[in-house]
Amino acid sequence: MTTDQYNQLVDKHADGLYRFVLKTCNNSDKAKDIVQDSFERLWQNVSNIDAEKAKSYLFTTAYHIFVDTHRKDSKQERLNTSRIAEPMHNSQYSDLQEVLHRALNQLPEIQRSVVLLRDYEGYSYDEISEITGLSESQVKVYIFRARVALKEIIGSPAAVLE
């Protein structure tokens, strides 16, 4: 992969990667760090990675960095009584999407990650299993559970009123 190809990847995937990481970890500073780390690792291996596989490499790296940092921070998070999600005031979202994204925070992290990869990036089960290290059937089960959970959450009046 050449430097030009690398720079094209930055233009093409930095935003998508940032959205995925931000929605997964709910912390914009941490998300920025993870995106920068992911691209830094891509650059370090720029001569060994094909441009075609770079996107998958970026998402895999970002996911693993997130998991690692999340483990390190888990002690700190346990001290917090509840997750404090960053406020999402975005007029571009429809009401349903706003509720849906709030509901996303109530899902377990693994379910959140796989459903984001599926919906945001359109990855197949096979690709998601490569990124997350899960089996294809596990990926399917997690996505199904996530959808059912989201359906129930957005179907409840409390979620709408929240």
């Binding site: 050449t2 430097t3 030009d4 690398y6 720079n7 930055v10 233009d11 930095a14 935003d15 998508g16 990667l17 940032y18 959205r19 931000l22 920025k32 995106v35 920068q36 691209f39 650059w43 975005n90 571009q92 979202y93 349903l96 999407q97 849906l100 994204h101 996303l104 459903v115 984001l116 919906d119 945001y120 399917k140 996505i143 199904f144 996530a146 959808r147 059912v148 989201l150 359906k151 957005i154 179907g155």
Partner: protein
């Protein structure tokens, strides 16, 4: 059958469970009547029978596999339909047989509404910082590497040519003469006339005086506050040599450095000033070779980073220069030399990633 204290335990549990019958039961009852303490013990044993706690029972329901409930099966079918997990035939069947029911349509719509849409206005703010500058390529090499190699080559041949054509040794040994215009501004307060340069005889006299002063320095160390002590202190100050760099760049400043302390004292030893800047003759210049040596030592240690015993030659300078440029430009090229026991280079090798060249040094490189 005779039941005694030695064998009564065999019958005790059967007795307590009500399973002891016939002659054995009669004998055991008689034994208990004869031994009331054992009878008492057996009655208490009834209280320690463990009974299973209902609350601590393991919920085996959690282990059982359930058939998918009707609603869950419908959700799963709708999910597979939405996720394109069906074959073409399965899709058609689903649409014909399941989707005709309103409840299935509602379930499908509910699940379809859970598809997340990315917020396209959410963008990564530091995208430009992630980008890398692309160096133009020359024959497959990055311009950075090519420029580094070119600069290193120019430095190598430049230094080599310069060393071969010029005699640096004579320059380094050259002393800098001082004249009246340099010293007079510093000596306005002294009210003494200075005549420089001194004659050879005068300098010889000054030298002997300084030697004498040095010899007496330790003896008079305790008399620092006396006039003699001040004079000796002044003499001590001027023995500090200016660096060659100071002398070459600005002789006046070098002289100020040396005389600053001496001039601030009440009695100024002009003779010692003259000793710092003697007339440039072969005889006198030999006294100041130490300055050269100090400079060379510092240059070897701080710039070339070589052992003090290793002589400075074109190869050593080129090695240091090329490797320094390699580090500065972050390029993968370096010059390595192999030296013999005398410290003189016998082989050199230049490496620049895919390109490398090595040669034996046949010609003796001058120092």
């Amino acid at each position: 059958m005779k039941i005694t204290t030695a064998n009564y335990e065999e019958y005790a549990l059967d007795y307590m469970a009500g399973e002891l019958q016939g002659e054995a039961y009669t004998d055991f009852c008689r034994f208990l009547n004869e031994n009331p303490q054992i009878k008492n013990q057996l009655e208490n044993l009834n209280e320690v029978v463990l009974e299973p706690s209902i609350s601590s029972e393991f919920n085996t329901e959690t282990l059982k596999k359930k058939l998918p409930a009707e609603g869950e099966a419908l959700s799963l079918a709708c999910f597979d339909y939405l996720e394109n997990n069906f074959t073409r035939t399965e899709r058609i069947n689903f649409e014909k047989k399941i989707l005709v029911f309103p409840v299935a349509k509602a379930e499908l719509a509910a699940l379809a509404s859970t598809v997340l849409e990315p917020d396209l206005h959410l963008i990564f703010p530091y995208k430009q910082k992630l980008k890398r500058f692309a160096f133009p390529l020359f024959f497959g090499y990055a311009a950075r590497t090519v420029l580094g190699v070119a600069a290193a080559t120019i430095i190598y041949f430049g230094i080599r040519t310069a060393i071969e054509t010029q005699n640096f040794a004579s320059d380094l040994n050259q002393s800098v003469a001082i004249n009246d215009s340099m010293l007079i501004p510093q000596l306005n307060n002294s009210n003494k006339k200075i005549e420089l340069p001194y004659s050879k005889e005068q300098i010889q006299k000054i030298k002997s005086q300084r030697s004498s002063n040095k010899a007496n320095l330790n003896q008079n160390a305790s008399r620092k506050n006396t006039s003699t002590g001040i004079k000796l202190a002044a003499n001590t100050q001027v023995t500090e040599q200016p660096t060659m760099q100071e002398l070459l760049l600005n002789p006046l400043n070098a002289g100020q450095l040396l005389t600053k302390n001496a001039l601030s004292t009440e009695k100024i030893n002009i003779q010692t000033l003259a000793m710092v800047f003697p007339k440039n003759t072969v005889e006198e210049s030999s006294e100041y070779k130490s300055i050269t040596n100090v400079l060379i030592e510092k240059f070897k240690r701080n710039v070339l980073k070589i052992d003090q015993k290793t002589p400075i030659n074109a190869m050593v300078l080129a090695e240091s220069g090329i490797n320094g440029i390699g580090k500065m430009t972050n390029s993968f090229f370096q010059l390595k030399t192999q030296k013999n026991s005398d410290g003189k280079p016998t082989y050199w090798a230049f490496e620049a990633g895919k390109f490398s060249i090595e040669r034996q040094i046949k010609k003796n490189i001058s120092e």
